[in-house]
Amino acid sequence: MAEAVAPQVFTRRASGLVRVMSPYSAFIYNILTMGVIFPWTYLWAPTAFQGSNLVLGIVFAFVFELPIALAYAWLATALPRSGGDYVFQSRVFGGGFGFTVVFAFFVVWILQWVALSGWLLAALGIAPTFLGLGVTTNIHAFTTIGTWAATSNGIIIISLANAAIALVLLVSGFRNYVRFQYVMWYAILLSFGIVLLLFLTTNPAAFHTKINSFAGAIDGVKNFFGQAKAAAAAGGVNFNPPFFLFGTLMVAPIAWTSLQWATYSVEQGGEIKNAHVFRNQLFIIVGSLAATAGLLVLLAVAMNHGIGGDGIRVASSGYWYANGKALIGGGYMFPNLIAMGLTSSPIIVAIIGVGFILNSFQIVCNCYIGCTRIMVAQGLDGLLPDWFSRVSARWKTPVNAHVAYFVAAIPVIFGFNKIGDWSTKWALGITFANGAVMTLSALAAALLPYRAKKLYEASPGAKYRFGKTPMVTIFGTLGFLFGAFMVGAFLFVKGLGLAYTASAFPYVIVIGTAVFGLIVYFIMKQVKASKGIKVEYAFAEIPPE
């Protein structure tokens, strides 16, 4: 024996696996997917739960999402594969369960997001940008375009174009998307920074004057803010509400509709470089969660400083109380529209608008990216026809899955914009459905060491324990409980999701999609069985001994 050495591994010349998306790109992807510049929280929570504290609610959402995000970091390193949630759940719970839940509640329900992202692009990106440009340049054509973009036909055409352009970009190669994502990232950061700056450099009194002038130029209305506030008060908005703790807790599920997407990069885990490295997944998932929560808090603080509690409540009343007096150019007072009203510079308006337009476009891209990866994984497992899993030799992308998803989105886009009660009947389940997938994946993480023992033992996270209990089980259990709380809120709280109309219809739609998923599963199972193949083989772990 001699001195202590720090031995290195020896290697030989052997081929190796290399992946494409850098952890930084995946980090950006998650932040953009969380849609930091579409914070529904500010429009929804202040009047749905009067007296709630926005900042505290966002912090609650962060705290509730944190164990879910940590649990995902374990799953993503143990199973760094494309099709993330489907792979996790099918591995731990079995193929029938994993397929049904992820196909029904992600692949089917995210079609609503394709339609919604088109609406975001039209109503929150193009419409306010052109309205703002119309006001700041006095060019009427801009106002006309902005007004058209907010009509149902305008939204449908813009939504179809949005989905078609995303289809072409993604089919042409994932690397092209990754490259364009940097453009979107910096444009969105700039846009968000300017919005923050505008809020931080104004005060409520100045806001009243400027927003009156802005709305007057667009709609010809006088004393816009005073009228909107009066209408909100008449509609039931309390402008001096006492602090409401339960309401603040209920802000968390709303903020969670943004923050829950911190885990979405797992759907393309097979394409992320060094996806099996623990610190990379912590950076990608937990890092993006913390960064987005921080930005949301910052925006809440800035808005409170710039437009005050009254301004926030008036903006919210336009959405939650359908207060028509609180709309500008027919659109809700999202932070970007308010910020545009605070400036007289068309350049600033254009910069803000481009950020929102690009983030809307990114959202439709991430719908395609995540869901087509899931469809490819399900196709390879034999639970969807092989056609879905084919990767084009020319483009090296799953072209068939992309085209299928585009075609499936078309009727949803029309329904979303042409059926009057679509959002209160057909689309209400989306917050529940998407949240349920993530909550069940947290449970899958908790059970991973017991239901997929060998897989877990080979994973880098296996060395982290609290006493004898695997850390992933602790975080997964906490995540499942927190997720169940929020998903339960979407199910039963009137101000959130399914209980909004007190009708059974939205529940039937959710159950219907689950039944649809089950039917697809059993049909594919029978088709495979007729060829002498059991689909269960796709998930069952072979005992090594």
Binding site: A14, V18, V277, S389, K396, K454, A540
Partner: protein, 332 residues
């Protein structure tokens, strides 16, 4: 009843094959491969090459009585025999070879690639020998045979361990062997040149010649199962990042700020699938390019590989009368 217990005729039960490849020394993955016969109820186990592991971990005895080793860029200081056993088990799962040594032995190897390569061959050959024995033992008394061959990452020296095959194990390297009464397995383990300059690379022309020679002995190529380690060129089964071979280790080629993808397969393999229209093409080599495609009537598959996670990725193929009647990717 035919020699292998299955008819494989147009009217009979299909012959069910389980195919996997690129397990790179992973002990649990190989054990899963053997158990796949019973688990998936198949008639044959076909391996598509790349048996050897890629890393060798020296576990150096420490002055304080413990052990030190490196893994995944982290330093490990093992203080108890239990920790040591757990660490070795993890290395086996990952497909890494290991040996215990004193610091002076470690220094003897350090920086001497020829000595390291020799140690690799020694340990890999021993492990492959154990694997052949294990297969004979586990499949004894069944009708199942396991067909083993090398890939581009395996050295010829290590593959000599396959010569010890007796009853249940078939060394199918560069051979034509029957898998039922009417289908034959044609195996070629070479790949086209890679940036890694691995031991068994051949030019496309050389691979074409090897395939041509083998197929000359096959009376009905439509009833041949091609077990070619290298996938066909630009087929979607061979997509990977383009690497710059002028540096070591090779690094991704970046153009306009983005890595470049390309097809790393073999034109000769694609030409053979087109020309001979076999029953099926089974391929591996590119771990990240799991998928299926078609060459005329012939389906071709690459099940991919995740041996490092202890996961056995594979493919069940049911063949009858020179056709694939069903297939299923697996992830066990």
């Amino acid at each position: 009843m035919g020699l292998f217990g299955k008819q494989g005729s147009p009217k009979g039960e299909p012959t069910r094959l389980f195919y996997a490849c690129d397990i790179h020394g992973s002990e649990p993955t190989y054990r899963k491969f053997l158990n796949a016969a019973k688990f998936y109820d198949v008639d044959s186990l076909v391996f598509g090459g790349d048996l050897m592991g890629k890393l060798l971990v020296p576990i150096v005895r420490d002055v304080d009585g413990g052990w030190r080793a490196g893994l995944h860029g982290q330093k490990h200081h093992l203080t108890t025999p239990e920790e040591l056993a757990e660490f070795k088990k993890r290395l086996d799962t990952l497909g890494f070879y290991w040996f215990e040594c004193d610091p002076d032995v470690y220094h003897w190897y350090e920086g001497h690639q020829d000595r390291i390569d020799q140690k690799f061959d020694e340990l890999a050959k021993a492990r492959l020998g154990e694997w052949v024995e294990l297969a004979e033992e586990r499949l004894a008394g069944t009708h199942v045979r396991v067909y083993l061959c090398g890939g581009n990452d395996d050295t010829d020296e290590v593959l000599t361990a396959l010569d010890d095959a007796q009853d249940r194990v078939v060394n199918c390297e560069n051979r034509i062997v029957p898998i039922d009464d009417e289908h034959v397995l044609v195996t070629v383990g070479y790949s086209t040149p890679t940036p890694w300059e691995t031991p068994r690379e051949r030019t496309d022309e050389e691979i074409g010649e090897v395939i041509g020679k083998l197929l000359a002995e096959v009376s009905d190529p439509s009833k041949a199962v091609f077990n070619f380690h290298c996938p066909p060129l630009d087929s979607s089964l061979d997509t990977c990042l383009k690497l710059d071979a002028s540096v070591w280790p090779p690094t991704p080629v970046i153009e306009n700020g983005q890595p470049v993808y390309y097809g790393a397969g073999s034109q000769a393999v694609g030409d053979a699938l087109d020309a001979y229209q076999p029953t099926v093409g089974l391929h591996g080599h590119i771990h990240e390019s799991r998928g299926a495609t078609k060459f005329g009537r012939t389906p071709a598959f690459n099940p991919g590989s995740e041996y490092g996670e202890g996961v056995l990725r594979g493919l069940i193929v049911a063949v009858r009368g020179g056709e694939v009647v069903g297939h299923q990717f697996t992830s066990g």
